[in-house]
């Protein structure tokens, strides 16, 4: 099966101030017209609060990775949750272990528009000893062109961006020997 040969579609158009239309009174031809397609833009700035999750981002800015733990049952969340799913009580902040392991991963060769320019990149879920849930992150320092199931179980450690953007990508993971 071969891909059709074609030029890429562009989203730039031409400004048009009028289009053809019948000059006479007979409008029956309008049913046979192709549609008019116009460009519309939608830009928004949100005032987005991290709420009870805010300390997680403050920790990343200071080179620390923290999760939450239920004071009642001890269930520990690698990705912070303000209340325990099982006990319903408010959780406490705890430091995550210094190393973890790759639980699963993928190499993205395409992506959402916002991340398309960063491809190929690796998404991975990290597991930690003594922690019940996982943590989604970028994995760097392995060959994106040679993914293998053997990466699962690989020991990894967090590394932090010096200039924090207050996003979960302020932390990423690398193999422990890198």
């Amino acid at each position: 099966m071969s891909e059709k040969v074609k030029l890429p579609e562009l989203e730039e158009g031409t400004e048009v101030f009028n289009v053809p239309f019948p000059k006479d009174k007979d409008l029956s031809v309008l049913k046979k017209m192709t549609p008019i397609i116009v460009k519309r833009q939608y830009l928004i700035n949100y005032i987005y609060s991290y709420g009870q999750d805010s300390p997680f981002f403050a920790a990343l800015a200071n080179g620390r990775l923290i999760g939450t733990r239920c004071p009642k049952c001890g269930y520990t969340y690698a990705t912070p949750k303000g209340h325990c799913m099982y006990c319903g009580v408010e959780t406490e902040w705890v430091e995550l272990p210094e190393t973890g392991r790759v639980h699963t991963f993928t190499v993205c060769h395409f992506g959402s528009e916002e991340f398309l320019k960063e491809t190929p990149f690796i998404l991975a879920l990290i597991e930690f000893d003594g922690v019940d849930t996982l943590f989604l992150t970028r994995l760097v320092g392995v060959d994106v062109n040679n993914p293998t199931l053997d990466w699962i179980g690989m020991e990894v450690k967090p590394r932090f961006r010096r200039n924090s953007q207050f996003k979960p990508t302020d932390v990423y993971f690398v193999p422990v020997d890198k």
Partner: protein, 446 residues
């Protein structure tokens, strides 16, 4: 609860882009198909319909909030009761079940359910961004939000735990694209090989472009009725109609963040035993469930729907399934959730031919010893028939209805996909890495 009948359904032509019509007119296309099929004029149908449930996934795609009411007024069904439902990829399946509730509860006798999506208003990569906004936008989306990436991570874990292979996934792609060649409403009919699937551009390892559904424009509509409502429709149509009943309804959920899902025990179906998931073949000697490899919501939905329908062994008691194959991998994972095989055996299940149509030549150079045992996605599924999100679960209901009516030949203009003597089928609708899943059982009444 009262018995609920699925009376008639219609779909639009599904395509990558339908700029010829607005979303209102796309739904009208599906709705008018019902009128033609029943030979009932619009004013009479308006008189018969007590209320409507409308569904579409994304205000972002539509560039319109409250789009469902705009459809309802375009169809001429105001000022009757109506509401919109939304639940990601499962939007259509939830819509079907909400319409069922309205009838089963005695609230209404005749309900129209319709769903639609127009995804072509943005390019594919912006569309993927919209879809990825249906993941936690604090912790997940900013890391590189991309649903194909999320599902790829899930199947990579499935491969590690169970030995599932990309070639087994490719067989699903070959099957569904080939089935779609006999479905004139389908978006992507293709006669392809396992090799074609593996050689297609890599999207998120190991999923290639042919392992993944594409953006779709389209609509679907379906009429559900009580016994009394069915009689009124039959009177208006001037003939008796095939009786297809909803005999089971199930719905499950799971945490939005995959990271939060537990590693516990499998909720068992009647034909399974706890020992099935203990032993050396599982990492650590015991299957940890659902983790990242399986959809707990799909299992919960199946348990409820089967219980209500009295199904104890789905492989033996269902004649076909239309399930949510947004990815070839998720079709394999869903065989297991729905209990067609044990967890971990989904790859082998497709390799042995179970979900293929018995009478279609797939050009697969393997024996397929159980070919045609339980056809899955005879219509072509999401991968090949189309996935206009809000319409998808209803599209499955329409195709399932036609199978049970024995009218595939009439609607598709070709008998190839008609499952012989189909008596009971299941439809399965699934949202965001398994957050909402619905399973509904449809049955022909003798």
């Amino acid at each position: 609860m009262r018995p609920v009948y699925v009376v008639a359904g219609g779909v639009s032509k599904f395509a990558k882009a339908r700029p010829d019509k607005t979303f209102q007119a796309l739904v009208k296309e599906a709705y008018d198909y019902i009128l033609q099929d029943l030979c009932i004029e619009h004013p009479k149908m308006v008189e018969l319909i007590d209320g409507v449930v409308g569904s579409y996934f994304s205000d972002h795609f539509e560039y319109q909030l409250m789009a469902a009411i705009m459809v309802q007024d375009y169809l001429g069904l105001v000022p009757k009761p109506g509401h919109r439902v939304e639940g990601g990829g499962a939007t259509g399946g939830i819509c079907f079940q909400e319409a069922w509730k309205a009838v089963a509860s005695g609230y209404m006798d005749v309900v129209l359910a319709y769903g639609f999506e127009v995804m072509s208003k943005v390019n594919t990569w912006k569309g993927n961004e919209f879809i990825a906004l249906a993941s936690d936008t604090t912790f997940d989306y900013p890391v590189g939000g991309f649903y194909s990436g999320y599902y790829a991570m899930m199947v990579v874990r499935h491969m590690k735990e169970f030995g599932t292979t990309p070639e087994q996934m490719a067989m699903v792609s070959v099957k569904n694209h080939k089935n779609a060649m006999y479905n004139p409403f389908s978006q992507a009919p293709m006669d392809i090989t396992i090799e074609d699937v593996r050689k297609a551009p890599m999207v998120a390892w190991p999923l290639t472009r042919l392992d993944i559904c594409t953006m779709s424009d389209g609509a679907a509509a379906i009429i559900l009725a009580s016994e009394e409502g069915l009689k009124k429709i039959e009177d208006a149509a001037g003939r008796t109609l095939p009786k297809v009943k909803v005999t089971g309804i199930g719905r499950g959920t799971d945490a939005m963040r995959m990271a939060d899902r537990p590693h516990g025990d499998v909720p068992l179906l009647p034909h399974e035993k706890p020992e099935d998931y203990v032993g050396d073949k599982f990492l650590g000697g015991k299957l940890k469930y659902p983790g990242i490899h399986s959809f707990r919501a799909g299992r919960m939905a199946s348990i409820q729907a089967y219980k209500m329908a009295g199904i104890t062994n789905p492989l033996e008691e269902l004649d076909f399934i239309e399930l949510h194959d947004a990815y070839t991998s998720s079709e394999i994972q869903t065989y297991e959730d729905m209990g067609l095989c044990r967890y971990g055996e989904g790859g082998k299940f497709v390799e042995e031919g179970y979900p293929f149509m018995p009478n279609v030549d797939y050009r697969i150079d393997k024996p397929l010893p159980h070919k045609g045992k339980i056809p899955v996605n005879p219509s072509g599924g999401l991968i090949a028939a189309g996935h206009p999100v809000g319409a998808t679960g209803l599209m499955q209901a329409v195709f399932a209805l036609w199978q049970l009516q024995g009218t595939i030949g009439k609607h598709f203009g070709d008998e190839t996909l008609q499952i012989k003597n189909a008596k009971r089928g299941a439809i399965h609708s699934h949202a965001g890495t398994g957050t909402y899943v619905t399973v509904s059982i449809l049955e022909r009444e003798e």
